[in-house]
Amino acid sequence: VLNRRCVEAAVMTGLALNCSINKKSLFDRKHYFYADLPAGYQITQQRVPIAVNGSLSYSLCIDNKMSQMVTKTVRIKQIQLEQDSGKSLHDDTRSQTLVDLNRAGVGLMEVVMEPDMCCGEEAAAAVRELQLILQTLGSSQAVMAEGQLRVDANVSVHHPGEPYGVRTEVKNINSIRFLAKAVDYEIQRQIEELESGGTILNETRAFDSKLGCTVPMRDKEGKQDYRFMPEPNLPPLILYDAKSLPANMNHQQVVNIDLIHERLPDLPSVKRAKLVERYGILPEHSFTLLNEDGLTEFFENVVKQTQMKPKKVIGWILNDLLSYLKQHSLTVKESPVSSFLLADLLNLLEKKEISSTAAKQVLAELWKGEGKTPLEIVKEKKLELIQDQKELEQICQAVIDGQENEVIMMVLG
């Protein structure tokens, strides 16, 4: 039985990726025997998938300094719905394989990209953007480490002007960082292989994160005939839009593409543009804000609670707050300094009650999370900026008085 939510998620994702949604798509059985495939076949969409011909735009920094960003596009070939298999856990010490069937049959969405990317960095950036889009849509939480987003990289090399070379498929990539590494390693391996007169096999390789290389995968046989057959228990999936929806159709029985389109939330690219426009921050700032879970919200909350200009606030967010969090491997949600506290501190700075150096000291104290307010810390450490002219003169006089000899030396030259 088809899961409605899966269909909606696929349509949302297809629309977000500028795809054409196929109003009629079909389901097929893909047959092969494996311990984690209890039915002996997987239901997928081989003939007509639910969405085709889309595109995904992503940005990269030209150099490492985040000062120049360039936009690239990768074409989306198709999005298809299919079933997940179970999980195989290989226990080599006891020569056995444990099979967990709990996730067998759960709905998956496969996004197939065209080979428009040229290196690990591009692949990583593209997948990162996809991840953000999926999270924004709610289609998936897309956490790679949890297997919610799985990425297989298909890599090939060729001389400029010549057709694409033989590709290998690289699996077992568990993070975006590893994706970049795996792709770059494989590119290098293939170039070396070809330059030494060898050939590339159309094979499946696994990425070994410990060694940082790809290795041929065991128990993946040669070309398999999957004996595709239409899935007889699932009728063709028909989707409607406002125009094609029959008048007397029960709305709970159908998926309306137009309705889904209307309900699409702001995509990351739109969100970033809005942040730049509203707060006057730089585009690269908006990328960092969106990249970190909860950071945008934190930033906006601080801005709301302080008179300091957003352009200045952003510095504190990205340089001070973020680097501290990174140092201690904390997420924004785990920050001992709340947006309220930070705003409080920035207000003191803005009102010139403390200097910026003092502010940094206060912040260092706040990290300890002892529950003190910025004002309390300022008073404790006597960090207040002295505004009173007379008081300042008194202090200076006291210093000069205490250093008579040095003063005479200075006056004499």
Partner: protein, 522 residues
């Protein structure tokens, strides 16, 4: 004893009025099952649970709140429907000892109406066959083999032939269900119909066999043979009973995406029907059927009642056997892939590698027929063959289905054909040909209805020269079961098919007793 011969409506009335209690009824059926054990109609008899269900039913009757007409009625279910807590084997080694954790929707619906499940009936392994002879629990014997009508006509062809070894087959693959209904051990039974598997044994056993329109009754929990053709089938002793059972089974099931969404309204059949406005079509056939004579007689009956009877042409039906062979084996190959010995069912001791375990398990678990179909099916699904076989067969299937559409559009209401080529053959003769040859022969008249998804029903018509039942088949328009059953009921009334006279039951009881006595002496 006379009680059993009554059809269910009358039994329902008897239950309601307290003339008989559900427990008494259940016990009588269970005891009759025991004394007809030689028929081998049942694989599992669920005595304990049946009696419990009967008890519950009795309580409801005493309170004056029975669930409906089916409350307390003993039924049997073909052993390819999942039944919670009761073994489901499909007559195969692969599922011997398998206890399902859930009830098929059709089973659940009957239980929800208070029906009493007596047991699971025998079949051809995984419903592949037309004789109910190829299951691991042995063949089913047609109760008519032991009827006075058959014995009177029986002429041994040689000295070696005697009455005892010359029993005839039930037909298949729902032979157990047909035999159970025919021998009065239950009032209705569930079968399945993919190429004729409900109508064929119904014809041979002299009972009503209904194949509903595809998509009307849920297949959830019916272990699939050919997903695009399977339907649950209903076997009863009269057409009215079939209508009642249909009423409790039909309707959308969210667990089966191939069931239609429309609401189904259960109906009662009129006692008097006017067939004069009907147009009955009789397809031209190129093969000889022993039943041709009866089709002619039936046609006359309709004509005399004022109906229009015309000959119609279904030009592509002659290709349905080969078309069915390709599509059926392809889906079988796919559906059988789940039996790998890992999760449930039989697992071989071979453990050198996963692949060798799969191979050994499947070789040990499946019989020749099943393995043969899997191999054929996989052949047709290979990339290089897919276009030429599978796709082509799909196209031919469309042509066959369109033949029916054309005929019905031209004004014909119901089609009339014999159900089988001949009456039931003796087992010894049947097994001389292999399963595939037999299926190809026996399914020829029934299969096309599965191709087109149309409703069809076997109505017992008369006895053959050998004293065995002959049935005629009516095929109706999609989802027009009411019209189909109305015509069938009218016909049933006209032909007054004789009741089976089973003497063997008493005699066998006596034999068993004798045997026991002599055993204690030695």
């Amino acid at each position: 004893a006379a009680l059993k011969r009554r059809v269910r409506f009358q039994v329902s009335a008897a239950l309601k009025e307290g003339h008989v209690t559900p427990t008494e009824l259940c016990q009588r059926c269970l005891s009759l099952i025991k004394s007809t054990k030689f028929l081998n109609a049942y694989i599992t008899v669920a005595e304990e649970t049946a009696l419990k269900q009967a008890e519950e039913s009795e309580k409801r009757y005493r309170r004056g709140h029975p669930l409906g007409v089916l409350d307390g009625i003993p039924i049997a279910v073909k052993d390819n429907f999942n039944t919670a807590g009761i073994e489901t084997t499909c007559a195969s080694n692969m599922l011997k000892g398998y206890i399902s954790p859930y009830n098929a929707t059709a089973v659940q619906k009957l239980l929800d109406q208070g029906a009493v499940l007596l047991g699971k009936t025998n079949l051809d392994e995984f419903a592949m066959g037309s004789g109910s002879t190829d299951g691991v629990f042995g063949p089913v014997r047609n109760p008519w083999s032991y009827s006075r009508q058959y014995k009177e006509k029986f002429v041994p062809k040689s000295h070696s032939q005697d009455e005892k070894s010359n029993w005839v087959i039930t037909g298949g693959s729902s032979g157990g269900s047909a035999a159970a209904v025919s021998s009065f051990t239950c009032f209705a039974a569930l079968g399945s119909d993919t190429g004729g598997s409900t109508r064929n044994p119904a014809a041979h056993c002299g009972v009503v066999g209904l194949k509903p329109t595809y998509g009307l009754i849920s297949r959830h929990g019916l272990i699939p043979l050919v997903n695009s053709m399977d339907v649950p089938g209903i076997l009863t002793r009269c057409v009215d009973d079939a209508a009642v059972v249909l009423g409790s089974l039909a309707g959308h099931d969210p667990k089966d995406s191939t069931t239609i969404q429309d609401d189904f309204k259960p109906f009662e059949l009129p006692n008097v029907a006017d067939v004069s406005k009907l147009s009955i079509g009789i397809p031209k056939v190129t093969f000889k059927s022993c039943q041709q004579l009866w089709t002619g007689t039936a046609a006359d009956l309709f004509k005399n009642a004022g109906a229009k009877v015309i000959e119609v042409s279904l030009p592509h039906t002659c290709y349905s056997i080969v078309c069915y062979h390709v599509l059926c084996t392809a889906e079988v190959a796919s559906n059988m892939a789940r039996f790998d010995g890992l999760e449930y069912g039989h697992r071989s001791d071979m453990n050198k590698s996963t692949e060798s375990m799969y191979a050994a398990t499947r070789r040990e678990g499946f019989n020749d027929v099943v393995r043969g179909r899997i191999l054929s099916g996989n052949y047709f699904l290979l990339k290089q063959n897919y276009e030429n076989y599978f796709i082509k067969a799909q196209k031919v299937r469309r042509l066959i289905a369109n033949d029916f559409v054309k005929v019905f559009r031209s004004g014909v209401d119901i089609l009339l054909t014999p159900t089988t080529l001949c009456d039931a053959v003796p087992y010894m003769e049947f097994i001389k040909e292999d399963n595939r040859t037999r299926s190809a022969q026996d399914d020829i008249l029934t299969q096309a209805a599965n191709m087109a998804g149309l409703p069809a029903i076997n109505v017992p018509t008369a006895l053959s020269e050998r004293g065995l039942p002959i049935g005629l088949q009516f095929i109706g328009r999609s989802f027009q079961e009411k019209q189909l059953l109305t015509v069938a009921k009218w016909f049933e009334k006209q032909v007054k098919f004789p009741m089976i006279q089973l003497e063997e039951v008493k005699r066998h009881d006596h034999d068993a007793f004798q045997h026991q006595k002599s055993a204690s002496f030695s």
